[in-house]
Amino acid sequence: MKYSLYTGEGLIPDQFVGLDNYIRLFTEERYYTKFWNAFRNNIKFFIVVTLVQNVLGFFMAVLVTRSFKGSAFIRKLSFLPTTLSVLVVGYIFKLILNPYYGVFDKFLDLIGLEKLIIPWLGDSRSALFVVAIAVSWQFFGESVLFYTSGIDGISKSIMEAARIDGASIWQEIYHIILPSVLPIVGIVTILIFIGDFTQFDIVFAMTGTRGDPGYSTDLFGSLFYRTAFSSSERGGWGTGMGAAVATMMFIVVTIGVGAFLTFFTKKREALEK
């Protein structure tokens, strides 16, 4: 992090400039517009991924832990996308959504929904959402895995007692499952937060290091890569400025993790009372 206080021509910053890099990052328009844009995109991205992975993932885990034929197979299958590289997942989605030969548009056409076809990754209104969905698809199984192991850990006798007392599935979820998996909600949320605020691979694969179209999918991770390691024609700001961006990311991640930790510890204490 000390390199954020330096500037220089080559790869290794050697000229001490104090806080100058930070001052420039927040006062010069060409720097701060990109920084705040990536910040906003990252928050939207995080909200979509958290909703899909936490809310949908939780309900999927509730379904998976019911006893039915094939539940072992589903459990095994659900984690499969998580084993692939983020890069591969990004490219698969990019190819499936391709306007010329993508299978997804052809499928919409086939079932008569051709009106819904839009340039998924070419439109700045949908691109960020599509990228977030690709990441959610990949790591969905990880949330499901964490939640299922939490639900499996609840003692069978408590569940049975509730069922005998005639508790509906909703009551069961609200009064028994949710309180006991709350620490896992915390862990999953914090992991998603850390992953999303440093996410780079998916942007690289789907929309390039500039977060096309028009920086609408630029996240902190791609901003950091571009500013620190690209040549100035391709959006590089020099290694010293890059280090300043990385330091700001570090501060954001630390504050975020701290905030979630206190939030979930308080919630848990409130529930235990």
């Binding site: 692939l84 590289s85 190819l95 299978v103 192991s149 499996d152 990385a246 330091t247 570090f250």
Partner: protein, 277 residues
């Protein structure tokens, strides 16, 4: 009444599970099937099976694009870094769990903090360190970084395994005249084998798929790992769709096979970590 309700909810359950399975399988299926089609066929018949299993794309990748070399690089980096990381973590976890000294707790916390601090943010310092050590653009640079990445989780997992080994066993060893390294090698290691396996397996997937550090630290083509080769070849073959899909399939097939073979260990290791944390 209850029976009707139950069968409705069973039906709902099966429908949900079918949709879920298809949403996982279809993208993977499309990817692999497309890699066997010719370019013309991809446009003509995007759905469905290829008319014949056309292996040209794969042969091209291995012969022209040196894919075999990239595989060897990835295997070498992964095996070496995981083996070294697990060995070092076991020694570290042993020291902080079995010997009493002033900063036990602090050192343990220091290791575990590594789980939440993203190493990516220190990339510039890492890059400069590698330049100064003159191992920039070599596989050693990656191996060192991957060891550092695997250590926090491995220490975290192994710490608990080692703590569960009863103190009496080590004491008995000492009385019989076994040296301290001997106690570790002959008593502790055999007892924590499952922990060692878990630590290695959990770190395998992120290690094998890692893309960021090769992108920053590797410049020469002969040092590419599979993810870096995937990233670069994908752009290069923009118009040759069969090659593009073959690149993606090749990057995924090894890890899918290993996951299917070892899935029980993955799930056990990961869920143990989640529930405990």
């Amino acid at each position: 009444m209850i029976n009707i309700k139950r069968s409705i909810s069973k039906t709902f359950l099966y429908i949900a599970m079918t949709i879920y399975s298809l949403s996982i399988l279809i993208p993977l299926f499309v990817m692999m099937m497309t890699s066997f089609k010719t370019n013309a066929e991809i446009f003509k018949n995007p759905f469905g099976l290829p008319s014949s299993f056309n292996l040209d794309a794969y042969i091209n990748l291995f012969v022209i694009s040196n894919y075999g070399k990239y595989f060897l690089n990835s295997i070498g980096v992964t095996v070496l870094s995981l083996a070294l990381a697990v060995t070092m973590s076991a020694l570290a976890a042993y020291a902080i769990s079995k010997y009493k000294f002033k900063y036990n707790r602090a050192i343990y916390v220091y290791f575990v903090v590594g789980l939440v601090v993203p190493i990516k943010l220190g990339t510039i310092d890492i890059m400069i360190t590698m330049l100064r050590l003159s191992i920039f653009d070599t596989l050693w640079a990656l191996i060192i970084v991957y060891i550092a990445m695997a250590i926090p989780l491995s220490v975290f997992v192994l710490y608990d395994y080692i703590r569960m080994v009863p103190e009496e066993l080590s004491s008995a060893g000492r009385i019989d005249g076994c040296s301290e390294p001997g106690i570790f090698a002959r008593i502790i290691v055999p007892l924590i084998k499952p922990g060692l396996a878990a630590a290695g397996i959990i770190s395998f997937i992120p290690n094998w798929n890692e893309f960021w550090f090769p992108l920053v630290l590797i410049k020469s083509r002969e040092n590419y790992t599979i993810p870096l080769a995937t990233g670069q070849l994908f752009g290069q073959f923009d118009t040759k769709l069969d090659l593009v899909f073959a690149v993606l399939s090749l990057a995924s097939i090894p890890v899918i096979i290993i996951y299917l073979l070892l899935s029980n260990y993955f799930v056990k290791g990961l869920s143990a970590g989640a529930v405990k944390g």
